[in-house]
């Protein structure tokens, strides 16, 4: 478990940053916010590139002053910036050696170059030069190189914003695996909900340089502040399920969500036995009575905990707690968006049991697919 305390305050241009958070995890924390919310500034200050900000950084009881006394190359962070850069005059192999040669700490046994080459499938690229690599390949090399710095904490600043969905999903899987396998905590900056719902263990929401809320994925994605930030139409929930089986022929996957079955399209990566799927609130059909199950693949049961009826629109938001399973103690939350007209017609209310119908077609496949 790594403990990192960060407090950064000060003006960045005409913008006031006031960020404070205690990271207490060996998992992946996602820093989420819109463009210009201060995410990248936080990463830059942590890695030592913005010295004029007032900052208190304590990593595992070691204090790092944000001054020139602690220049970037002496900080215990491995940073990867937007559009990662490889050194063009070095081969892939030489690029990977760059941080290894400069690592003066004795703690070099954490990860070997060979291991990373294996995990990130870089074997065939070693003798090639950056100008002959694709965007995804470059990113894999840059990621391996950053990890080989053997730092205590990885800071990744929207490294995948330019990649296509498939490459991105694959790399996110790598990240997850590396995090789990080698216990390196990661702070990942993103403004993509797909990325978040796939990799985050914890989310910090920031807006105009201030932390709004932080917590687990389901807590944040279902929170009002998050929904407000991304707009109601895109609002969604993330369900976590245990993989039961995949159907090769139909290309479908069966998940156990709180003891209930959820069938999703596609097949997730081999690594995952826990799969996250994102379901948009507007894609959910709610009914007080059981209807013909053949209309969709999925029928879930839950209890309505809250109903928000919007005054000036036609819509209502329902917060539904999935019925508890006997095995799992925590129950997951699902948000549904229906018209107030239909809400009244169905005569449903808080604390009432409902059936939820979700078509597998509407389940966000990008959120987990390999």
């Amino acid at each position: 478990m790594t403990n990192l305390f960060v407090k950064i305050t000060g003006y960045v241009g005409d913008f006031f940053l006031d960020f404070e958070h205690e990271f207490n995890t060996s998992g992946i924390t996602v820093l989420y916010g819109s463009n210009g919310s201060g995410k990248s500034t936080i990463i830059s200050a942590l890695s030592g590139f913005i010295n004029h900000l007032e900052a208190k950084i304590v990593l595992n009881d070691r204090s790092i002053e944000n001054t020139k006394e602690f220049p970037p190359h002496k900080r215990p962070f491995g940073t990867m910036f937007q559009n990662p850069i490889l050194f063009e005059h070095m081969s892939v192999s030489q690029n990977l050696d760059y941080p290894i040669k400069r690592n003066k700490s004795l703690n070099q046994t954490l990860l070997s170059k060979e291991e990373l080459i294996n995990y990130l499938e870089l074997g065939s690229l070693l003798n090639r030069y950056p100008q002959n690599l694709s965007g995804g390949e470059k990113l894999r090399v840059a990621l391996a190189r950053t990890i080989l710095k053997q730092s205590d904490y990885l800071l990744l600043d929207e490294p995948m914003s330019d990649l296509d969905i498939k490459t991105k999903a694959r790399l996110l899987n790598f990240l997850k695996m590396i995090n789990k396998q080698f216990k390196i905590p990661i702070l990942y900056v993103s403004h993509s909900i797909e990325e978040i719902s796939q990799i985050a263990d914890e989310i910090i929401l920031i807006k105009n340089g201030k932390k709004i809320i932080s917590g687990s994925v389901s807590k944040i994605l279902n929170s009002n502040s998050f929904q407000r930030l991304i707009g109601k139409f895109e609002s969604s929930s993330v369900l976590e399920g245990i993989l039961i089986k995949t159907d090769q022929l139909m290309n479908m996957t069966k998940l156990d969500v709180n003891g209930q079955t959820l069938i999703v399209p596609g097949r997730p990566g081999l690594m995952d036995n826990i799969v996250r799927v994102r379901i948009r609130s507007r894609d959910i059909i709610v009914s007080p009575v059981k209807i013909n199950t053949h209309i969709t693949e999925n029928e879930l049961e839950g209890i309505i905990t809250r109903i928000y009826t919007e005054k000036d629109t036609a819509f209502s938001e329902l917060v539904i707690k999935l019925t508890k399973s006997k095995i799992k103690k925590t129950s997951q939350i699902l948000g549904a968006r229906i018209t107030t007209y239909n809400l009244n017609k169905m005569n449903i209310a808080e604390n009432k049991k409902v059936f939820i119908y979700i078509s597998s077609v509407s389940i966000d496949r990008q959120a987990y697919q390999y």
């Binding site: 890695s47 491995g78 910036f81 760059y98």
Partner: protein
């Protein structure tokens, strides 16, 4: 030697010219390189101001620079006095006076190609290197220099050629003293004044061929590196 139209005086001029160009490039590497680095990566507000100063010798008539240098190099100024104290010689009309003048008027020829090569590398490359554990100096030696080799080569060749070819300032500051400050350009001028065209031909032709070879080397190496990148 005279059968080749090449007197010992001409030989001396060639030697002094080459020595001047090399010494100047040596000092330009020491002064011009950090300046280029500063302009490319560090300066923000001061940049236009500094760039204007560095570029000034490019637009000023050589006689204007020559005039001010004579004023500053005179034995009455602090600089002039200091040089006499150091060497027992006057700075003006000395070889080192010539070097100092050449550094000043060749500065833009060193700084501009190198600066644009460094700017192409960009700040993100520096940040990447530093975040991977390399100090600024380490980054300069192992990332910046190899990535801007072409810029260094261009700066060297252009500065060398330009120092070799300068006439006005060299005449004003150096005085064209035989064996001391008389460079090829001045020798040619003297030969022409004395109407010994054959000797002038020899030196002028030599300069022409040498300059052409220098430029050819430059453009050839530029072309080659572009092909390699592809």
């Amino acid at each position: 030697m005279d059968t080749f139209n090449f007197s010992s005086s001409d030989f001396n001029a060639v030697f002094i010219t080459l020595k001047l160009a090399l010494t100047t490039c040596f000092f330009l590497a020491l002064i011009g390189t950090p300046l280029s680095y500063f302009l490319a990566f560090k300066s923000k507000r001061a940049k236009p101001f500094l760039e204007s100063i560095v570029t000034l010798p490019l637009v000023l008539p050589p006689t204007v620079i020559g005039f001010y240098l004579i004023v500053f190099f005179s034995p009455d100024t602090a600089l002039g006095k200091f040089f006499i104290l150091l060497t027992g010689e006057q700075l003006i009309f000395s070889f080192y006076g010539l070097v100092l003048a050449s550094i000043i008027y060749s500065l833009p020829f060193w700084v501009q190609p190198l600066q644009s090569a460094l700017e192409k590398i960009g700040n993100d490359t520096l940040k990447t290197s530093e975040s991977l554990g390399a100090s600024k100096f380490d980054t300069f030696i192992n990332v910046i220099v190899p990535l801007s080799k072409k810029g260094f080569l261009t700066s060297f060749i252009i500065s060398f050629a330009h120092t070799m070819g300068e006439f006005g300032i060299v005449l004003m500051v150096g005085g064209g003293i035989h064996g001391k400050t008389k460079v090829i350009a001045i020798s040619i001028y003297d030969h022409v004044e004395q109407l010994s065209f054959e000797k002038a031909h020899f030196l002028a032709g030599g300069m022409l061929i040498l300059s052409f070879i220098i430029l050819l080397t430059l453009f050839y190496s530029n072309k080659r590196s572009i092909v390699r990148v592809k």
